[in-house]
Amino acid sequence: MLDSFLDIKTNQEPLEDFTAEINDKFFTVSEITRGVRTSLEHKFSNIGVLGEISNVRKPSSGHVYLTLKDKNSQLQAVVFRNSASRIKFELKDGMEVVSFGSVTVYEPRGQYQLIINKIEPKGIGALQLAFQQLKEKLEKEGLFDHAHKKNIPFMPKKIGIVTSPTGAAIKDILNIIDRRFANVEILIYPVKVQGEGAAQEIAEAITELNNYSDIDVIISGRGGGSLEDLWAFNEEIVARSIYNSKIPVISAVGHEIDLTIADLVADKRALTPSEAGELVVPRRDLLIEKTEKFKTRLLQSLTGKLRLSKEKLDRIANSYVIRQPFDKFNRWQQRLDDFAQRLNLNITHALNTEREKLSGIAGKLESLSPLNVLKRGYTITTRQEDNKSLRDIKNLSKGDKIKSNLSKGSIISEILSFERG
């Protein structure tokens, strides 16, 4: 290794007099540093390093600084902004990783470090890890909460579709919708569904469709592909746009086995784009059939009721009372007449009896008449004052005038004295 330093040394341009002379004997700090750097870069270029991450720092510059370590040693490392932006998962302390890059020297400090171009978790794919990490994060934040999920309208009038206009997904979705409920309005928002900027476009499309007040539901998705192909639908920005959408979103990405973050956040997950077509509209023919059946039943109920009512009416019309409305009246009248007659008979009879009774009483009365008694010589004495008949001397005084009624004529006398009887 020293040889190479010397080589460098000998390759240096000759410097001016005195300095040059010193330079021949001594290295400058820069020379050593540059030499070390060249040597290291030569030996440790495009290598892979196994190690555990510690002390991750992410300043606002976008570069990521970290230390790789194992049991005995540490290695300073840096991921520059461009490379850092390509890392899908989050670098965390304690994580075992494979880092790819080159060792170099940071000359101002004379520190050697690993410049990482690519970093992968050990034992698991970077994308899988990224998926796991984002899933955990968003789950904790409540983005998958069932309570937040909106209902998919039963019969949307207008559907927004966010996908590639040339992909397999749009074809499948449109075919199924056409078969089930053709007369519906559809607005396609064309986006890139994979590669650089795809996630951004998808998120923007979902956000922008929310400005269309007449859209009832959004489908976002794409056909099948590799995990990398589908990656846009695992990006946080897409997840957030779905979560924030006021319009319900159906996510339809790849096949059934391809579960994406978008699927988890969406109000409804369709296993395939075709299924999205099935979920988004009902079968029109079945609805027409159902509606028509209800109409038939309505009519049947009405005619049934009318028939029943008519039968009831007929029954009443044919009844004795309706047919002979005066019959009862007549019968009552007859009964009334009967009563009247009987009443009449009874009264006559009663009158006769009473009359007979009366004449009997009259005979008796005659025999009891005081006139007859007088005829036999008795008199009836009354007080002249009030013409009351007298039976007792009580209440009478001397000098009272009394009248004695004889059979023929009467005598008026004045009381002289009393004799108690």
Binding site: I170, V184, I188, L287, I288, R297, L298, S301
Partner: protein, 80 residues
């Protein structure tokens, strides 16, 4: 005025039919129910029939202005 939701209308229609079929309503009540049932039936039928098939694609020009154009599946997927 927004038209009542199809699903709700269909449910209402079903309820009316069931009331007519199971309840012992008077003739007047029956007629009134039948009338409102037919009205809802017409609304349902209209919302199934009325909507038009329309597939548009949103296009953006370089300065971000949008317009829509009829989308032709065959045209865009041919040769793909």
């Amino acid at each position: 005025m927004k038209k009542p939701d199809f699903e709700i209308s269909l449910k209402e229609l079903e309820e009316i039919v069931e009331q007519l079929e199971t309840n012992d309503l008077t003739l007047d009540e029956t007629l009134a129910k039948y009338e409102s049932g037919i009205k809802i039936y017409k609304q349902c039928y209209q919302s199934l029939e009325k909507a038009e098939k329309k597939i548009n694609i949103l296009l953006k020009n370089s300065i971000g202005e949008t317009r829509t154009e009829e989308f032709n599946l065959k045209k865009t997927t041919e040769g793909h």
